[in-house]
């Protein structure tokens, strides 16, 4: 398990370095005024957080896998 945590730590360090790049200025290739479609509610990645959390809870109770889907719920009473 320690090896696993160390590996995760290295990944986090690389991402932190990437995080530091935020100070650099990169010209955005999609301008703010071009984001009207992305702002449409039908493009929301998680438009209904309560519903998403609930259905993730159902999947976690019925399957052996967990996480990696960005948003999820939890709970038991699952048999």
């Amino acid at each position: 398990m320690n090896t696993q945590i160390a590996k995760t730590g290295r990944i986090l360090l690389v991402l932190l370095a990437f995080y530091g790049l935020s100070a650099c200025s990169i010209e955005p290739w999609v301008k703010p005024y071009e984001r009207d479609r992305l702002a449409d509610p039908i493009m929301a990645l998680d438009g209904d957080p309560v519903s998403t959390a609930y259905i993730q809870h159902v999947y976690e109770a019925r399957e052996g896998a967990r996480g990696g889907e960005g948003a999820a719920g939890g709970g038991c009473g699952c048999n």
Partner: protein
Amino acid sequence: MKLRRLLTVLPFFLALPASALGGVLPDDRGDVLYHRYEGGGVTIDGPSVLVRKKAGKSLSFVGNYYLDMVSSASIDVITTASPYTEERTQWSLGMDYLRGNTTMRVNYVSSVESDFDASTYAFSVSEDMFGDLTTLTLSYAYGEDIVGRSDDPGFRRENTRQHYGVSLTQILTRNLIATLNFETVTDEGFLNNPYRSVRYLDPGSARGFSFEPELYPETRTSNALGMRARYYLPYRAALEGEYRFYTDTWEIEGHTASLTYVHPWGPFTFEGKFRYHDQTGAAFFRDIFSRSEATNFRGRDKELSPLTSYTLRGKVSYEFIDPNKGWGIFKRGSLNFTLDHLIVEYDEFRDMTSGSLGEEALYELKANVYQIFVSFWY
């Protein structure tokens, strides 16, 4: 006697933020949801209520109340125990703090059952970068569980759980947004269900088998890598694809994929989704063991079996408050109905009620999951 599955990630992920664009606080909203699960002899229903409200320009608070009312006569229960009813109550409170392009979040979740308590503390930080095209989120959460037994007041075991998450959300074009999530979860402690049994071949038994308590390893580490992309079609509709790869130290390996289509029509929005999940089984899972204490670790939890699941979803939403006009303090309001039909095919877990030993059919679960909810934005 109660039976429950304790392997789920309890209220863990609820404490974590959904992938979203940072730099802006979430909209003020309220949701009231009724959920109902019916399938495999189990009915679970109850409400979920969420309220989110900004305080000034930098803070947003969120609270959620969630209840599961369980009535279970599942295949596991009817073959080794008695049907039962129980409740699980979950509360969560969270706060978002926005400073410049950085959003920090803290969250606390409490889940209480008669014989199982869980607490989770979560922290995350999101940063908008590169002209707000990119949002990077780092998250950490710590959870503690206390496991009891309803038939033994002296029984008390503990688990701890740590979660590390990285999420990257990227605007790729004016029509396409994508997100990448990596999550590692480590568990340590009493991870099996204190009520559950495995079965083993026993020539001395009339049925040819007997039962003994299951025994799981005391640690588990899982890694999940998920990616999702949503595309705005040439007409006003959206298509989303998602894939997740999962692996853990119990040797479960899973692939999950889904495709979603969203189509608005006047005040209505229709959504259709197909989801597919396939996994290998845990190394210590057996439908039946060759003898008593045949292996160091033993489990017959059907969720640890190799399995394939399919879900077909239909959803319809109706905007009863026009977002262009509003109504009083409300900017927008919607009524939503969702039906998910779930089929799980188990590759090794057998239905003991379907025949005598050697002639038992593989178990298959079919369930309907209903949600009806009202959302208000104010």
